[in-house]
Every structure is written in C-alpha cells, then in structure tokens.
C-alpha cells in the first residue's frame, strides 16, 4: 500500500484546486451564517459569502489568530449546534485559559484520514501494530494517531506517555512495527533501552512517526541510529485538527500537507502578504474540510515554506518544510505549548517580584524548563525548609497553569535583566 487516499494524494493540481474552491466557498458560507465573529469580520471587510468562488479568492479573507479563540472561549467559534459535536480537545493558551477545539463526526473522520495518510506515508499497513506513546487526553497527540491507526485498520496500542521501562517491555513483547511519540521521548526510550541492554536491532520496530515539537535532522539521524528505524516527521496543531495536518513521506525532505482539508499559505509575518514558493514566512491554514471549527486563515506563528514541486514519492500534495522557528514567543516544552505570559501570570498571581527568566535546556533529550524568580521578602525565611516549601508552591502553581513541570530557581534580587525596552525573558539553550 503506497497511499491511503491515492485519488487525493496523487491528484492533479486542477483536481485539488476544484476541491479546494468548492470547500472554501462552503466553509465561508457556513462561517458567515453560523459564527457571529466571522460574520462581523466579513461585514467589516465588506465581504459577502458569494464573493469567494475559488481558492484564489482566499487572500480576500481576514486572518484568525489564537487570541480570537481565547476571546470566544470556550465554544464561541463553533459553527455547528451542540448536538453535532462529538469530541472536544484543548491546548494551552497564552494565559490561563485553554484553547478549545471541537469536532463533528465528519471532522474526526477527516482528521483520522489525515493521520492514516501519515502512517501509510511512513510505510505503515493494516497488518501493523502501532505503539502510541503520545499522551492521551485533551492533548491531540495520542488520540490523533490512535484514530489514524484504526482508520487504516492497523492495531493501535494506546500506551500513552511515561513509564519508559514499561514502554520498552511492550516494544519487546507486543512487537509493534511503528512507534509514535515526541522525538525527544523517542530518544529517551532509545537511551533507556541501551542502558537496559535491550538490542534495538532485535525489535520488530521499523519506523517511527514523531512530532509535536521541533526537531532537527541531526536528531532524526540519532533516533534512526539508536532505535534502528526510519524516523518520520508529522505536523499538526489542535486549532487545525491535530497531528496529520502534514507528514513526511519516504523522501523525508518536507511534509505533504493534507491540502484537501487544510489549505496552507505562507505570508510575510509583518505585511501578511503571501510570499512565493520556497520563501520562508508564517504558515497559515484554512480548515476547508471542517465543520465544527472551520478556522479561516489561521496564523500558526510557525515559520516555514511551501514547495509545489512534484515529489519523487508520487504525491502531488504540497510540501511544507520543518518549521524553523516561531513568529511569537511561544515555547514548546516536551510537546506542550508554553507562553512566557503564562509564567508571568503565575508569578504575579503569587505576589512575586515581576522579574523572571525562563531558561530552557535539553538534558538527556528531555526539555527542562527552569523559571528563575528573584528572591523577595515574601519568599525568604531564615529556615531552608520554609524557603523550599515556598519554592514547591511556586513550582506546583506553574505546573497547574502550564501543564508541564518547571523547576523554580530563586536568584538574588536585581540579578535578572530588567525590562529596558524588551527584557530577555527566555534563554533557550536547546540546539534545535
């Protein structure tokens, strides 16, 4: 099996454009009719649904940003009645509130198909067992690949993340063919295997599908060597669907976008004007295939570029390069989106000094986030036990707001950079 949806994945540009034009017109009408936020935006732009007839008209449409989801928290941008929603996921937002997304039955179907295409592009077949070590829950990683595996007819093994020794035992005993998790966790598993004397060459595993965080070609080579597999990248974000929005094929040199469902554009992040193929800019998606949350020109803040050149794998779907950065200050820590503003929110809520610094390192292939907080009278005590108790309080408040653990380091007052213009809030020591 070479393609999961051959008629789409190898379709001519003309056919794809036809599908895209028809779907774009349909979601624009749906948004206009059912989402007051979009109706207002269209009215402001003097647009009527009938003005959008072909995919080329997409540039007439207004952009959507993460803040719009927050302003309409939790369900204000949903375009279908409550009874049509069959699934809700959420990811961290820029402040306390989560970014909430919903799916109809058909949305789950197209997301599952997207993930199934990704699995097939990584060499997966219905005879395979797929070990899913992404987290299951509000995060889209686990369930996204899970539904993709089942859609393909493969056997999904929903291990979820954590407990590395158990992961290794299941990799040995259940003999999965494909591993899905974050690339950093793949390396952790690989190294733990080495430590436990498990020979990767003896495992049945032959491929891995890794995403949810940025990773380099060097990391790909390391994972391929330590686990003795082929490592494939997968891209996605919950606002658009989840993992499977785009995926590596056997060429491993760019990710094919499921552009029949998620129409990609690259724009200049400052002017918001479209840029030509091959030029890096901000990646923007329009969810032309979706019903519940058909976001229009959603700014992902990921910096990438597109290429429409024909791929040797035979797919005609446009390819996007691995995102090489962000146009905002979002950090991805162990697959979880973290904004410095969330850290600031916790610090201010706890009445701490407003000067802080986030330091990110990658230790043993795992991201470690340390939040440096200036010592103040509110935190200080002559007894270590008391200081440690307050430190733990701060760390647990961080964990509950960020959804990922952070080390707290107390530093001397006035030792962190001051906000002269722009304070250096983030020091990212990861080489990615």
């Amino acid at each position: 099996m070479k393609y999961f949806d051959p008629q789409i994945e190898t379709a001519s540009r003309e056919t794809l454009c036809g599908i895209q034009s028809e779907r774009l017109a349909s979601i624009v009408k749906r948004c206009y009719d059912h989402v007051p936020f979009y109706r207002r935006k269209f009215d402001e732009a003097g647009l009527l649904p009938g003005d959008v007839k072909s995919i080329d008209d997409i540039t007439k449409l207004p952009f959507t940003v993460k803040q719009d989801l927050r302003d309409n928290y939790p369900f204000g941008l949903f375009a279908v009645p409550r009874e049509d929603i069959v699934r809700i996921h959420a990811s961290s937002g820029t402040t306390g509130k989560q970014t909430v997304v919903g799916y109809t039955e058909n949305d789950v179907e197209i997301w599952s198909r997207s993930a199934a295409r990704a699995i097939v592009a990584a060499g997966g077949t219905k005879a395979d067992r797929i070990h899913i070590a992404y987290g299951y829950g509000l995060f889209t990683g686990g369930l996204g690949l899970h539904y993709g595996a089942e859609k393909l007819g493969a056997a999904a093994i929903p291990v979820s993340s954590g407990n590395t020794m158990r992961q290794i035992q299941l990799l040995e005993d259940f003999e999965p063919d494909i591993l899905c998790c974050t690339p950093s966790y793949a390396l952790t598993i690989g190294e733990a295997m080495r430590g436990a004397g498990v020979d990767a060459k003896k495992l049945r595993l032959r491929a891995g599908i890794f995403g949810a965080e940025p990773w380099t070609e060097a990391m790909r080579a390391e994972i391929e060597s330590v686990l003795d597999i082929k490592a494939y990248d997968i891209y996605g974000l919950s606002e658009i669907a989840g993992p499977g929005v785009s995926f590596d094929c056997c060429m491993q040199n760019g990710m094919h976008v499921c552009e029949d469902y998620f129409y990609p554009e690259i724009v200049d992040p400052d002017t918001l004007e479209p840029v030509p193929d091959g030029t890096f800019g901000e990646l923007v998606f329009t969810c032309i295939g979706k019903e519940a949350l058909p976001l229009i020109r959603y700014r992902t803040r990921d910096i990438s570029c597109l290429t429409h050149e024909t791929c040797e794998c035979g797919r005609t779907l446009v390819k996007m390069m691995k995102p090489k950065g962000r146009s905002d200050d979002m950090l991805i820590i162990r697959g979880v989106n973290v904004f410095p503003s969330q850290v600031e929110h916790v610090i201010l809520t706890l009445g701490l000094e407003p000067n802080y610094q986030i330091v990110v390192d990658r230790a043993k292939n795992l991201d470690v986030m340390t939040v440096c907080v200036e010592m103040s009278d509110a935190v200080f005590s002559d007894a270590v036990r008391e200081v440690e108790r307050r430190e733990k309080e701060i760390a647990s408040a961080m964990q509950s707001v960020l959804g990922v653990s952070a080390k707290v380091r107390l530093v001397e007052p006035r030792s962190l950079p001051r906000s002269e213009g722009k304070a250096v809030r983030v020091v990212d020591n990861r080489k990615i």
């Binding site: 009278d377 200080f380 005590s381 002559d382 007894a383 200081v387 107390l410 001397e412 007052p413």
Partner: protein
C-alpha cells in the same frame, strides 16, 4: 531575652560571601557567630552581629534579601553532654529545633549555642527550669 539574628539570601555564585562580609566590614559591623545553610542553588547565611539593625540596613541598601529573626542564645557547659542536656530538655517538652549552631567564647568552660525554635518564650522557660542560662545580645558582645 532573645537575640536578633540576621539571615541573608546568598545565591551560590563565586564571591558572593566575600561581597557580603566585605560590606559588613566596611560598616564596622562585628560578626560574633555565623552559620550557613546550603542547598544546591543557594545558601542562607545567618549572622549574630553587634548591630543587627545597622547590618540589615546596609545589606538591604545593597539590594540583598535580609530578614531579622529573634533566636535564643544559651550557655552550656563545655563538657561531654553539655549540649545534649539542653536539647533533651527541649525535646522532652516537644519543642523542635529548626536549626542550631554553636560558638566558643572567652568564658572558660562554657560554650554558646544559638537555637531557633518556633516559640522562644516556652523554650526559654523550659531551659531556665532545667538550670540552663539564657544569654542576651549584650552578653555575647561583652564576653569578648
């Protein structure tokens, strides 16, 4: 009859201790006793000085985090079991000691111990009843 101890937050960086003690020296502040509680990332320097209020001012002005805490100073026999007697007295009364540190004095045959407890008054009562001398700030400096 408590003693005012000052505590300073010290990040584990080369030269910090020298900076802090240097500042005190410049202000002619005399350190009588000290202890450092250390963790991986920072330490808490605790000092008994001749002029705690001035010490706090000087350090605060230099941007340091400082606090003043009332602690107990006791005088014990400088013989085996001298300190044990004092600690046993507190333990028998269920008074727990957060930390303690000792220093010797020219007072021959005696050792001074700083003890940090939750409730100074009840600890002082217990110690006095057991015949242990509680010392004052002045005594520490006059004994030089």
């Amino acid at each position: 009859m408590t003693i005012k101890q000052i505590s300073i937050f010290v990040e584990n960086r080369a030269g910090r201790l020298a900076d802090i003690t240097g500042l005190l020296a410049e202000s002619k502040i005399d350190i009588r006793a000290l202890s450092i509680a250390d963790t991986t990332d920072y330490g808490i320097l605790r000092l008994i000085v001749n002029d705690p209020d001035q010490a706090v001012d000087v350090l605060r002005q230099s941007g340091m985090t400082v606090s003043a805490t009332e602690v107990l100073g006791i005088k014990v026999e400088d013989i085996p079991g001298g300190f044990a007697k004092a600690i046993r007295t507190l333990s028998d009364k269920d008074i727990s000691v957060e930390y303690a540190y000792a220093f010797i004095t020219p007072d021959v045959g005696k050792a001074y111990v700083i003890v940090r407890v939750e409730n100074n008054a009840s600890a002082a009562d217990a110690l006095k009843t057991a015949g242990i001398t509680i010392i004052s700030q002045e005594e520490i400096f006059n004994s030089k």
